[in-house]
Symmetry: C2
Subunit: 262 residues, 2 copies
């Protein structure tokens, strides 16, 4: 397997567009932010933008395209959001109709694209700060859980927060909070520390999405708002049409994670 960690975002997006990269983007372009994609018809976009404004921890928006535009002048001026993600999902009336390497043939003139921050960014920062990230050590997907934490509704959108969990050694919990709190544009500080039941999680070993990971006796489960939240909320209302990235196949931006602290 090729190592894409030292390539620039522009180089990796070119390889994606040429069909030479079609897999998950984890570990590519170290130091650069990756983003979740939700593209919705303009008719739904006001409610969704308001939902993200009311729930910034679960839905930290990095950029919103103009309606009908495939350009992202802030995140990546030379990118085409319909071509530069390795794998897309297309949904009709809330049902996935297929996964595709390119989305241009499905694009519509009324689509608004929401690029939403991803916890990959703060995992880099945790590792640099000496906080272990268990699912990376164990080569698994991060465990994610539905919770009882209500989101603030906006128009047709409503639901509860989805969280990701990382076990943190007791003596590093404070550092894990301060490191991630400094990055509010990629979910920021944890929403809960310690007691899964307090946020409606019945069994920490049975995540609702992703994989379970080992929690050692001297470790505390720490829960962060998760980028799955906005997709779960959108799909719940069964939008007439939507395009998203496929899980793990993210949009790689030109923005350095370190700049997300501004």
């Amino acid at each position: 397997m090729m190592d894409y960690s030292r390539l620039s975002p522009r180089e990796v997006r070119r390889l994606i567009r040429e069909g030479k990269i079609t897999g998950p983007t984890s570990g590519m372009c170290l130091g650069y932010a990756q983003a979740n994609l939700v593209s919705l018809p303009k008719a739904l976009s006001y409610d969704f933008l308001l939902f993200t404004q009311r729930n910034p921890k679960a839905c930290p928006v990095l950029e919103v395209s103009d309606a009908g535009s495939r350009a992202l002048p802030y995140l990546a001026p030379d990118a085409d959001i319909a071509l530069d993600i390795p794998k897309y999902r297309v949904y009709k009336n809330g049902v996935m109709t297929g996964e595709y390497f390119k989305a241009d043939q499905y694009w519509r003139e009324d689509l608004v694209s929401f690029l939403i921050g991803c916890s990959f960014s703060f995992e880099d920062a945790l590792l640099e700060a000496g906080v272990p990230v268990r699912h990376i050590e164990e080569c698994r997907n991060v465990p994610m859980y539905n919770t009882s934490i209500p989101l603030v509704p906006a128009g047709v959108f409503h639901g509860n927060m989805v969280v990701s969990m990382r076990p943190v050694p007791r003596d590093l919990v404070v550092r894990a909070v301060t490191v991630t709190a400094a990055m509010p544009r990629v979910h920021g500080a944890p929403v809960h520390i310690g007691d899964p039941a307090a946020i409606g999680i019945q069994n920490i070993n049975k995540p609702d999405y992703g994989d379970s990971v080992t929690i050692h006796p001297d470790e505390v489960p720490v829960f962060w708002p998760c980028g799955v939240t906005p997709q779960a909320v959108v799909m719940r209302v069964k939008p007439e049409f939507a395009i998203t990235h496929a899980p793990g196949h993210m949009f790689i931006t030109d923005i350095r994670n370190a700049h997300l602290k501004d």
Copy 2:
């Protein structure tokens, strides 16, 4: 003159609604955030919400009402945004048609209210951190300037940033940055330190809004994004209808400034 600094926001809003307070709100309810108001017809609200998302330093949104609703469940659950500000301005086609103590008779079912963070909040924090705030010392309004700093356009909205200026002693500039950077929801860190000409300000002694203040020889002018920006941008497009607060007559929220650091 009565001292309203120790009253609760709920008490002061009641006095405002009863017509017993009709003046500027500066210094009232110490420790609680005050907010700017821009109410626009729903037809303009998507573009404006997108504009605030793209320009969060100049337009830090604290809450957006539902269309037609006068309630603000997050900022002040018992408030009525059409009654609880001491003085309103009503605009038709971008021209102010009057100032009023109540806005309920002008309210429309299609209005969306945007409550935007105000630098009053970080001035409290600066004073507590030992950073002098000159216009408060000199009992003037803060000096504000049009700049050459472009904002990111969204739909019909575009323009340059308006900034406020506070002279800071050289040895306190770093502290002024760190204190305000911790409060991104009320404009956050400065946009410029030191050279007015670098951001298009020709004469520091002739502000475009507010009053000029003394700058001592050992002080540096520090410039922050200003809440006048969103109002200036809105009025530039001459919206068919708009309601705003009158300058200095803010909405007093139930949210403590200290909680704006979350």
